[in-house]
Symmetry: C2
Subunit: 430 residues, 2 copies
């Protein structure tokens, strides 16, 4: 009986697994050098966890299930709610600031398409306990540090940055009521993703006052932070949030990554829980979805039953990133097929068991070793060694029984040398 | 609103995550040096995948869900069905033997207890395409290689080995009908897990003929491979399977791990798909569940719609293993808290931005660096550096503005030295 894989999932054969490991190892390395520690939570949580603040889109895409006690669970579509739960659980014992990262497997029942699958891996970086925009700059730096490390430079990627706090304050100055802000964000977030006339139509439904709508459209057209003031008279809160945005760009400049960053008022983010700086990372040439994004979410821990503690972070998935790396030819350069240190061969069947013994000892000494399962002649074994990309071949023959020596053949140069068995193991152990 | 984690799951705070990473990295390292390549599949499969051959216990413990099209899915309780599916899908292009490993996250709705959780990680090793018992010996060697590498020696652990093929052949010789074998395995598998009289009662229900029952009980009492022949007259098939068992032990001896291994006719395995050698690994002193187990499953690929290809492998979970390592004091020795290479401090607030710039450059150069978010005096910063276990402190002050020098303080010795900025970056890059 042949059963297919589930739609929108991936099988990781060794070649794809090597790519996945290479991407995830890179995330981990950059996280650690930026001072973050790894955490993880369960693959599922109580369903309610995602009904609090994740936003409608996420809730619609949940893979939900029941445990044996009939409780409603869901496979995690993001890890931030788990992070909030975990931090709240140990809020009194965790030293702050909390700088944590994770590389969770996540599932969303989306329509599978290029760069969007039902199961994916996502790098998450979060700083909890720092209200200063310096923390936002640091998480953005961290994303850029990774992108640079894999060869994606200023010509390839751009970080588009805005501020929900600024947007809220300016929209209030323009005349949008507090209660209408959240649903308006959802419309504004669509701006770059749908045709202009559709966007204007959606905005008309949302904002009936033509004067206010005009101001909002003008605001969404500003190209720099300086232009924001030209749309309306700014409240003190609006001015303060603009200063904060400017400070963020100053920090990014100090960190040497300003060239990657640009202000873009169209960045609003789909998730409901953002409260301050928001950003998304894009491929410069393509029309792909965002590589990743993030922002400040100062109210989330409180909404999950904890104290009010500021937080900021981002998520970068492996799907769009993987496509981009592939397109830019940045994968093949870095990945080569697994190689083994030694293939253990024998000149005659009488040495078969000895070959297995030596292979076992090589492994116990910490080096990789393989051998053929079926006894065959030496020429065929050397061919196997070559097919399996062994770096060296250990040949077991009369040299062993007569002189306690192994013959080591360098598979690249073809050169052979004899070495005393004990000396050989001394060498590979050190 | 405070929501608890789901029963039977674990939160991995940085400390627990370090343990998990250390265990899984060890699995990966040993797999690679034994010549295995990593693969992985999706977290869920079509529900049917687990109804084919996993056995009743697994099916009862499935976390099942539906996708948006209403199809029945289940979170993977084991990865072998996925392995069978993946191998069958590419059976014509994969070079054989296939030596693969995986470290999947698995979920089973079991009653949570010591060493048994609803979500866990399991190391899987499989060799597909080798019918020789040498492959079974190799997977057993691989498990022992890992156990030894983390400090679990012959005094701590034992690999108990038997053969389903031998058991089937001898039971047939005794007079058990072919059709009764599978359900009898389930009873025999319980033998060491329940009181003797309960076992005898279960056996009475299963085997009504007192003479046959007596022979089965006698068989289950044999202590060595040599004694099997004393229970009944052996068929040729039985003799052959006994020879195979003996060859397995010879190979284990050649590989230098015979001291870890013992024949135990009580090892039957719960999973329904085993066809040959079966084994389980136990803590020698404790009364814990098996650390892991495995065996040969020559019919599985065929049952999943592929060709008849022999296969053998094992699974070792992280729960019982983790408890054992903890009890033996083998975790703390190997794990230390994350340390940072550099804490970047400054003597005066005017150098705050410069400190951030230097920290960013250190990270881009590949070393880990942290800094304080709030400007404060140097003494407090040095205390922070010490709390955060920084190995060195970079102190930014007038030396930088006047002489382009950094002050580097070794946090262990307290010694300070000045170094030219460019020279410093040259050094850490190399």
């Amino acid at each position: 009986m042949k059963i297919p894989p589930v739609k929108g999932t991936r099988d990781f054969y060794p070649q794809e697994m090597a790519v996945r490991n290479w991407i995830i190892d890179g995330w981990k390395k950059v996280s650690i050098r930026n001072g973050f520690e790894e955490y993880d939570g369960p693959i599922f949580e109580h369903l309610q966890m995602y009904q609090i603040k994740s936003g409608d889109e996420i809730v619609e895409q949940l893979f939900s299930l029941k445990d044996r006690g009939g409780r409603d669970l869901a496979i995690r579509p993001e890890i931030t709610p788990t992070l909030a739960r975990m931090v709240n659980q140990q809020i009194n014992s965790l030293p702050r600031p909390i700088k944590w990262f994770s590389v969770p497997r996540l599932c969303r029942a989306e329509r599978p398409q290029k760069g969007r699958l039902r199961e994916f891996f996502q790098w998450n970086i979060d700083i909890i306990g720092v209200d200063d925009v310096l923390a936002d700059a640091e998480v953005i730096f961290c994303a850029i540090d990774y992108l640079q490390s894999v060869g994606l430079g200023v010509n390839n990627v751009v970080v588009k940055i805005s501020s929900r706090k600024m947007l809220a304050a300016v929209l209030r100055s323009i005349g949008i009521a507090e209660n209408d802000l959240e649903s308006l964000y959802a419309v504004l977030d669509k701006r770059s993703k749908i045709p202009t006339d559709s966007f204007v139509e959606m905005l008309k439904e949302k904002i009936t006052d033509a004067d206010i709508r005009k101001k909002v459209l003008k605001l969404m057209d500003v190209k720099s932070i300086d232009q924001i003031g030209s749309c309306t008279e700014l409240s003190d809160a609006a001015k303060q949030s603009i200063d904060e945005l400017q400070r963020l760009f100053e920090f990014l400049n100090v960190m040497g990554v300003a060239d990657f960053c640009t202000f873009d008022i169209g960045i609003v983010r789909g998730l409901a829980y953002y409260t301050g700086i928001v950003f998304e990372i894009y491929d410069k040439s393509g029309e792909m979805r965002a590589i990743g994004g993030g922002g400040r979410y100062d109210d989330l821990l409180k909404q999950f039953g904890g104290p009010a503690i500021p937080a900021t972070g981002f998520g970068i998935g492996d799907c769009v990133l993987g496509i981009l790396l592939e397109e830019k030819g940045l994968l093949s350069k870095q990945l080569s097929q697994q190689k083994f240190d030694y293939f253990v061969a024998y000149t005659d069947e009488q040495f078969f068991n000895k070959a297995i013994e030596i292979a076992a000892k090589v492994r116990l000494a910490g080096k990789s070793a393989v051998f053929g399962y079926k006894s065959t002649n030496l020429a065929k074994q050397l061919k196997q060694a070559s097919t399996q990309k062994a770096l060296n071949c250990i040949i077991i023959g009369q040299e062993l029984s007569e002189k306690n020596e192994l013959v080591i053949k360098d598979m690249a140069t073809g050169q052979q040398q004899n070495i005393n068995v004990d000396e050989f193991f001394r060498q590979i152990r050190s």
